[in-house]
C-alpha cells in the first residue's frame, strides 16, 4: 500500500503539473507582466515554464504522499487506475486548450 501511495502521488502530481503547464502558458500570453517575470527570472519564458513544471511535479509528488485528504487516499488498484485515466484526459484537454488558444490568438 505504501508503494501504491508513492506511485499514486506521482500520478496526482502529474495531473497538477499538466494543468499548471496549460494555465501558465495561456496566462503568460494574456498577461505580459507574467511573461516578463518569467523572462527576467529565468532568462527566457520557456525556460521558466520548463523549470517550474519540473518543480511542480517534484514538490507535488512529495506533497501528495502526505496529503490527508480523501482525494489523495489510495485504497486499491482501481482508484489508481481511475487517477491514471484522469491524467490521460487532463493531458488531452490541456493539449487541445493550448492549440485552440494559439489558433484563436492568431486569427483574433
Amino acid at each position: 500500500m505504501k508503494k501504491l501511495r508513492f506511485i499514486n502521488s506521482f500520478v496526482l502530481s502529474g495531473i497538477a503539473t499538466v494543468i499548471f503547464i496549460a494555465a501558465l502558458t495561456i496566462a503568460a500570453e494574456l498577461f505580459a507582466p507574467l511573461k516578463d517575470w518569467l523572462k527576467n527570472t529565468f532568462s527566457h519564458h520557456w525556460v521558466g515554464k520548463s523549470i517550474l513544471s519540473i518543480m511542480v511535479l517534484l514538490i507535488g509528488s512529495i506533497a501528495f504522499q502526505y496529503c490527508p485528504s480523501k482525494f489523495c487516499r489510495i485504497d486499491n488498484l482501481s482508484t489508481f487506475g481511475r487517477n491514471l485515466r484522469i491524467l490521460s484526459w487532463i493531458s488531452a484537454i490541456a493539449a487541445i486548450a493550448i492549440f485552440g488558444f494559439f489558433v484563436f490568438e492568431y486569427f483574433k
Binding site: 506521482f10 499538466v18 520557456w46 515554464k49 511535479l57 488498484l77 490521460s88 493539449a95
Partner: protein, 166 residues
Amino acid sequence: MNNLFQSLLISHIIFGLAGTVLAIALLIAFIKSDTALRYLRGISLSLFLSFLFAWITGGYYYVLYYGQNVRPLVKAGQTPWAHSIFMETKEHIFLILPILSAVMMIIIWFLGREEIEKIKKDLRSAAILLTVLSVAIALMGATISGAVSKSKPQNPGQIIKLFQTK
C-alpha cells in the same frame, strides 16, 4: 547556423523521433497479451530518456538560436502561422511529454506484473495519448521546417529587410 546549433537541432529531431517510435512500441506492448515486464521497463525508461534529451537539446537550440535567427524569417515569410500556431503549440505541448513519460516509467518500474495487468486498460489509454501527442508534435516540427525552407530570403537585401521589420 554553426556546427553546435546544427548538432543540437539534429539531436533534438533524432531524440524526438526515437521517443515517438518508443511511444508506439509501448502502446503495442500494452495491446499485446503477454509482454515481458523487462521489455516494458526498458521501453518506458528509454522513452523517458528520449524525451528528456529532446527537451534539453531542443531547448538550447530554441532559446539560443531559433528566437533570434529563425522566428523572424518564418513570421515575415509566406507562412507566419507556422510559428504563431504550430511552433507556439509545439513548444508548450512538448512540456507534457516528459512529465507523462516520467509518470508512466515510475508506474511500470514500481508495479509488479500482476498489478500492471489489472490496470492495463488505463495504461493503454495513457500510451495512446503519449503516441498521439508525440506524432502531432513531430508533424508540427516538420511543418515548421517546411516553413523555414519557404521563408529563406532570395537576396541579401531581403535578409536586412526581414530583420529590420522584426
